[in-house]
């Protein structure tokens, strides 16, 4: 109790709250810019926390983290461009909703879902940190590979209008992930002596090129609307914060399921928000009685994606606090900030620095409230983006994409790559390929390959994938997932057939 009160006093100090507020604003703004990840925002924050008290520093970084996980929603909803990899699935429904004249509702849904997602993940973190941490660490490469196989079956619900093109896009994503040094022994692959391919295709550059550049180019397809000074969203913007809060709370199953998915994925080292938003979206679509409305601007899609990605914040802290193992790059930076202050992060963290651990729990909850306040107060400002004419938004966002791509590795060659990937993305979009499976392939490819090879290096017997219980459960889930997808597609085709017959 003494530790808890000490932590409470430290977090609720005026200076800490002020720093956290600044951190929350910085996180939201950074993540709203395509190409700027939450990780980059936290890396930039790290040196600023060196002079602070350990808990104060961690609290500021957590507020940047929580703010950043929400910030990606802004460009995803208003521009159709995921601000961060963790908001890819948000574009599927928030963007169509905004285009239908409801950008205020799209943003509000995302903000509230993020808020509740973070709170639920904090609650799970407090209750289940030790047992979940032990479970996450027990997973070997067999279980990881099977988990990724299961995650890859998500492609089935992201394929869009054509299953064949969706599968091809997913496989192209996997193929892109094989370019550059191989993940186990570092042998060069498919670089053809070209310098910019030697280190592989940076995931973020691919993401920006595929989504942002292709989306911005498609904005100028109709020259008449562009030249007339048309805005991105032409209808009046209605701001429905409190009504939307009730709407989010009226979907408790979706909210809790997506948050639990986010926590579980966040707790697995190596996975994170970029996967959890897609898995949560997929699960919501599968559980829905009307899966056909997903992708057209349904609130359930926005809630699932945003609650899923925000809940990874709490999930990632589980192995960090429980065992001293960072679950993601962001957690590694948090760990580094504690180590700078001479605090060793490990299984004894809870017993040796109870106040710090309680402080992190409180800081997570406070950060989610800060994010909510900042988002609600600044939403009108963000909604102004929808009122900016296309002739102004296209060149400026293209410039932001260039900055984001360059700042990642400080490499000019990444800019050339951005142009090429953008052109390919536009071609694929125009030809009716779904772009989400491609991005999923790029994310999951290296994790799948690494764990497959690592498993077979440890034990060359491939039946291990079937004899290890957790691995088997994931593989059965993958088979069931494919079965569900086939059934669902057959059902849709049958319904379309009946409609056509009735029409004729």
């Amino acid at each position: 109790m003494g530790d808890f009160l000490t932590a409470l006093v430290q977090i609720f100090a005026v200076s800490t709250l002020l720093y956290m507020l600044v951190g929350s604003v910085a996180g939201i703004i950074a993540a709203a810019i395509p190409g700027f990840t939450v990780t980059m925002a936290i890396v930039l924050t790290l040196p600023l926390t060196f002079t602070m008290e350990p808990l104060q520093g961690v609290a500021v970084m957590l507020s940047v983290y929580v703010g950043g996980l929400t910030g990606g929603l802004i460009s995803a909803a208003l521009l159709g461009i995921p601000g961060t990899p963790s908001s890819v699935a948000t574009t599927f429904d928030a963007f169509p909703m905004a285009r239908k004249g409801d950008p205020g509702r799209a943003l509000s849904l995302g903000v509230w879902a993020s808020f509740f997602g973070t709170l639920i993940s904090t609650l799970i973190l407090v209750v289940a940190a030790p047992p979940l941490a032990i479970f996450a660490v027990k997973l070997g490469p067999w279980e990881y590979f099977s988990l990724i196989v299961f995650a890859l079956t998500i492609v089935a619900s992201l394929v869009g209008a054509s299953v064949i093109r969706g599968l091809l896009a997913g496989l192209i994503g996997l193929a892109i992930s094989t370019v550059g040094a191989d993940p186990i022994l570092g042998r060069p692959r498919f670089d053809f002596g070209i310098e910019m391919l030697e280190t592989g295709l940076p995931f973020l550059v691919v993401l920006i090129g595929i989504f942002a550049i292709s989306q911005l180019l498609s904005e100028v397809e109709d020259s008449r609307t562009v030249r007339s000074g048309a805005k991105l969203v032409t209808d009046a913007i209605d701001f429905k914060t409190w009504k939307v809060m009730k709407e989010v709370l009226m979907s408790p199953v979706n909210l809790i399921r997506s948050s639990v998915v986010g926590v579980l994925i966040g707790a697995l080292p190596g996975a994170g928000g970029s996967i959890s938003n897609l898995v949560a979206y997929d699960q919501a679509k599968r559980a829905s009685k009307t899966p056909e409305v997903f992708g057209t601007g349904t609130p359930d899609g926005v809630i699932a994606s945003e609650a899923g990605n925000s809940a990874t914040a709490g999930g990632g802290l589980i192995p960090l606090i429980g065992l001293g193992i960072p679950g993601s790059a962001v957690d590694a930076i948090l760990m580094a900030s504690l180590m700078v202050h001479g605090i060793s992060v490990g299984p004894r963290l809870i017993t040796d620095h109870g106040d710090l651990v309680y402080g992190m729990f409180i800081a997570m909850a406070v950060a989610s409230f800060m994010m909510l306040i900042v988002s609600v107060l600044s939403m009108r400002l963000f909604l102004r983006v929808a009122e900016v004419p296309k002739w102004l938004i296209v060149p400026t966002v293209l410039t932001c994409c260039v900055v984001g791509s360059f700042a990642l590795n400080n490499r000019v060659t990444d800019l050339y790559l951005l142009g090429i990937v953008g052109l390919v993305g536009y071609a694929l979009r125009t030809l009716g390929y779904s772009l989400a499976p491609l991005v999923l392939g790029v994310i999951l490819g290296p994790i799948a390959e690494t764990n497959l090879r690592r498993a077979l290096m440890t034990d060359s017997d491939p039946t291990q994938f079937l004899t290890r219980p957790i691995s088997l459960i994931f593989l059965i889930a993958a088979v069931m997932s494919i079965g569900w997808a086939i059934r669902s597609h057959l059902k849709t085709n049958k319904m379309n057939g009946v409609k056509d017959a009735n029409a004729s």
Binding site: G229, L415, L431
Partner: protein, 172 residues
């Protein structure tokens, strides 16, 4: 657009997709074969080439299915109209082409002119192409171009210690 035009456009779209499947198929075969040259390892069963080969084999398989499916959908007479449909498509999308050409030129000029000058020229130039030209919009365009070129560069250097390309032109 009447029904006949719409059908022609859909048929041309299917031919374009068919050609994309062919390109993907050819690339998968070429890359599968090129994976032969990736050195194997005696420390592991699979080696660095196994995963890519599996992926390219799967792409090959799906592309073959896609080609068969696409050929089934394309009526014989559609091929003759494909050239004129492509020309029409390019004509209606001329602004996209202009935008991409300007963007590509910008990307090539960033290392030469530096971020600030290249971005100013790009943002102002593209706004000029896209905007309804009035005195007020011109003024807005100049201010926005300044903010997203010199302003952005200064902000990143001052606050984030991220130094955007200065350019060979300024470095001498």
């Amino acid at each position: 657009m009447n029904n006949a035009d719409e059908n022609h456009s859909l048929e041309a779209g299917e031919i374009a997709r068919f050609l994309s499947y062919i390109a993907i198929l050819a690339a998968s075969v070429a890359l599968y074969l090129s994976a032969e040259h990736i050195p194997s390892s005696r420390f592991e069963v699979l080696g660095a080439a196994a995963f890519p080969r599996f992926v390219f084999a799967a792409i090959f398989l799906i592309a073959v299915i896609a080609i068969v499916d696409s050929l089934r959908k394309i009526p014989g007479h559609a091929w003759g109209r494909f050239g004129s449909e492509v020309q029409h498509w390019l004509k209606t999308r001329y602004l996209v082409i202009v935008c991409f050409v300007v963007f590509a030129a910008y990307l090539l000029l960033v290392p030469i002119l530096g971020f600030s000058i290249a971005s100013f020229a790009f943002v102002f130039g593209l706004q000029l192409i896209l905007m309804p030209r009035k005195p007020l919009t011109l003024l807005v365009a100049v201010l926005v171009a300044l903010a997203f070129s010199f302003g952005l560069n200064a902000m990143f250097a001052e606050f984030f210690n991220v130094f955007l390309p200065r350019g060979d032109f300024l470095n001498g």
